[in-house]
């Protein structure tokens, strides 16, 4: 089928709800109205109100009860309407979801998914635009996955649902509907923890994920005479060190692009990983193109915050001509 990311997510949910009757979908406005972005449209009609539920306005209870259900052998797929409202439930992710297997020595597990749209660029209100994947990626035991294409959105979401441990599935809402591609019918999986090479090249490795992936590809297309290798990280944690280090070993140069603020952002971890493993192959300092160390501005100025292609192009050019 020809699908946008939102169609692909919807399709994945239908497929897994059909495949496994221990799955449940719940969150704010997901049932009756099909989700504020329509990601869960049609699920209530197809699977009924025992398995598709609207919840109260309680992020803590949504994530916390997902952990409880999961320990009882269910496969909860919870939605947090915007990732800006996940912080109250951060406690449940840190205190319970991520470590339940560890602290019960494997007696209890939490095979659950928390889906949440993230990122700027849709002219929403305050707290609707953040990118905190670095913070979530810092929690041991929590898988953090970010698809950037319809194909991956479906395949990775199905992997997340089938995963034996908790997955935070962050969806780049800025590109929810702006790209289409043909994706397979029925269930298929794309692995978590594996980056994808979007474009092969020899001059420089450019790593990105989510909505920034597309800005990165645009920037690379604009640059004549630069043979860039573009890597879509796809999973923040666990990190696919091998794909990155292998590419940098080949190119000797690297640029990391993310929308989140710079300081403490995930690019830092990538730089450290490259230093650990392939420092002596580097021919130039690694560049980071990121959001600034400020909250995402309100809508009239949010475009200034987002790393657009010209910024990415400048960084690539600087790295290549170092």
């Amino acid at each position: 089928m020809n699908a946008t990311i939102i169609d692909a997510i919807n399709d994945a949910l239908h497929a897994e709800m059909r495949n496994d009757d221990r799955t449940l979908v719940f969150g704010q406005d997901v049932a009756e109205s099909g989700g504020v972005f329509r990601a869960t449209d049609g699920l209530l009609a197809a699977f009924g109100s025992d398995r598709v539920l609207d919840t109260p306005l309680s992020e803590i209870a949504i994530v916390g009860s997902a952990v409880g259900l999961a320990t009882h052998g269910f496969r909860p797929i919870a939605e947090i309407q915007f990732s800006g409202f996940l912080p109250p439930a951060f406690d449940q992710l840190v205190t319970n979801a991520s470590r339940i297997r560890w602290r019960t020595r494997g007696e209890l597990t939490a095979p659950m998914v928390v889906r949440t749209p993230y990122g700027a660029g849709v002219r929403a209100l305050e707290h609707h635009s953040e990118s905190l994947e670095g913070a979530y990626g810092h929690v041991p035991g929590l898988t953090v996955a970010i698809p950037s294409t319809p194909h991956d959105a479906k395949g990775m979401l199905i992997s997340a649902i089938r995963d034996p441990d908790p997955v935070l599935f962050m969806e780049p809402k800025h590109v929810y509907r702006s790209l289409r591609e043909d994706i397979p019918e029925g269930a298929y999986t794309e692995p978590l923890g594996e980056a994808a090479i979007r474009r092969e090249g020899d001059d420089v490795t450019v790593v990105s994920w989510g909505a920034m992936m597309h800005k990165t590809l645009e920037a690379v297309d604009n640059l004549d005479g630069v043979d860039a290798e573009v890597i879509d990280l796809r999973t923040i944690s666990p990190l696919d060190r091998e794909t990155i280090t292998e590419s940098v070993r080949k190119t000797g140069r690297c640029v990391v692009v993310h929308e989140a603020a710079k300081t403490g952002g995930f690019a830092g971890e990538l730089v450290a990983t490259i230093n650990d493993e392939v420092l002596l192959y580097l021919e130039a300092p690694i560049e980071r193109v990121t959001g600034f160390d400020i909250p995402v501005p309100l809508l009239s100025m949010e475009d200034y915050y987002v790393p657009h292609p010209p910024r990415i192009e400048e960084a690539i050019t600087k790295t290549v001509s170092y």
Binding site: G84, R123, T263, L299, S300, P310
Partner: protein, 385 residues
């Protein structure tokens, strides 16, 4: 060897355990004016004719503001907005009962109350245009909008604590919806307010929905007001489409709060518009239900009261309407006239003094915009007022 029983026998009925249940409570919904305009004379607040007229004027202003702002949004000149259509009596009745020294913690639907409190309409429009500068809420004791639902409730508790410690004659007044009562922040904030005995009023407009979720699915509690009892604070349930009832309820709550008893007020009303300009309510509720509530229109009810008490003749609705429309036009013009904002705005105010790294990042953005003017192709929305 563990010999505890593997099965538990059912509890016998006659052992005298009688659970406390919400059915034991009798909760009155306070009302002054009935839907036909008849009223309880003893409950009519002691206001002068000008104040009675004012209440009508402000409700009409709220309605016109919402209509006009929605139109502006449709033309792309505001971001997402949330209308108070149908909730005018709750918004204005509560706002009118506050002193300018009180602090309002808004969450987005209460334009009229904020304007009453001294905020300029220009700034309110600028806020919904996403202009950072307007978030100051200049000239009015108004906190930032609690877009993260419920997040402001403990804040109001803390502000009230401060007011009390300083012996000020003012309260913290938190506006919230029925959905907010399901957040952890609500429970913690209310409980702590009760423990401290601070001058805070928590004003919940129960408009029957949190986006698509009807109130009876938001909570198994029959009312919001009863939740107050769990924290040992007072609760009032009031007809939120009766402006005089809301005014009395909030005036009373305010007095109680100043005496050290925080109060949770539930105003029972209805959101007749979509949740926001990005919502389609036909997906989750029937037109009949909306029609039913239209018959309980707060302006019509208050007008009926004014007519019955001979006050309507002195009110020239057309003139008020014209005045309000003109006020709105002026506010839009003033917002349009605000100068374009510079990128310094983005980096300012995060710290009292900008750390060197942030200064460096600002410099970097400045240079980039100069060297790569094609950046502006990606910046559709300029920070103009």
């Amino acid at each position: 060897m563990d010999d505890s029983p593997r099965t538990v026998p059912p509890a016998a009925a006659d052992i005298g355990v009688d659970p406390l249940s919400q059915g034991d409570l009798e909760i009155e919904t306070y009302r002054v004016v009935r839907s036909d305009g008849s009223f309880d004379a003893e409950r009519v607040p002691d206001l002068d004719d000008e104040a009675f007229r004012d209440l009508y004027r402000w409700m009409l202003l709220q309605r016109i503001y919402d209509e006009r702002a929605t139109k502006l949004q449709r033309r792309g000149r505001l971001g997402t907005i949330a209308s108070g259509h149908g909730q005018e009596a709750s918004i204005i009745g509560s706002g009118y009962a506050l002193s300018r020294d009180d602090w309002i913690f808004p969450y987005g639907r209460e334009a009229g109350a904020l304007l009453l409190h001294g905020l300029s309409m220009r700034d309110l429009l600028l806020y919904w245009r996403g202009v950072e500068d307007a978030s100051r809420m200049e000239g009015a004791n108004v906190f930032g909008m609690a877009i993260s639902i419920g997040s402001h409730i403990p804040l109001a508790t803390g502000k009230a604590w401060g007011l009390e410690l300083d012996g000020e004659d003012a309260i913290a007044f938190a506006n919230l919806g029925d959905g907010a009562t399901s957040t952890g922040a609500f429970h913690e904030g209310l409980n702590f307010a009760g423990v401290l005995g601070v001058p805070a009023v928590f004003f919940c407009q129960n408009n029957q929905y949190a986006i698509s979720l009807p109130f009876d699915e938001q909570t198994n509690a029959e009312t919001v007001a009863q939740k107050a009892l769990a924290y040992g604070v007072d609760g009032i349930r009031v007809d939120g489409n009766d402006v005089l009832a809301v005014y009395n309820a909030v005036s009373t709550a305010r007095e109680r709060a100043l005496e050290g008893a925080p109060v949770l007020v539930e105003a029972v009303t209805y959101r007749r518009s979509a949740h926001t300009t990005s919502d389609d309510p036909t997906r989750y509720r029937s037109g009949d239900e909306v029609d039913e509530w239209e018959e309980r229109d707060p302006l019509a009810r208050y007008r009926a009261f004014l007519e019955r008490t001979g006050r309507w003749d002195a009110i020239d609705e057309d003139t008020i309407r014209e005045e309000v429309e003109a006020e709105f036009d002026e506010a839009v013009d003033a917002a349009d006239a605000v100068e374009e904002r510079g990128i310094d705005e983005l980096f300012a105010y995060l710290h009292e003094e900008m750390p060197p790294e942030l200064e460096r990042q600002l410099e970097e953005l400045r240079d980039l915009l100069e060297e790569r003017p094609d950046m502006y192709e990606f910046i559709e929305q300029r920070p103009k007022g």
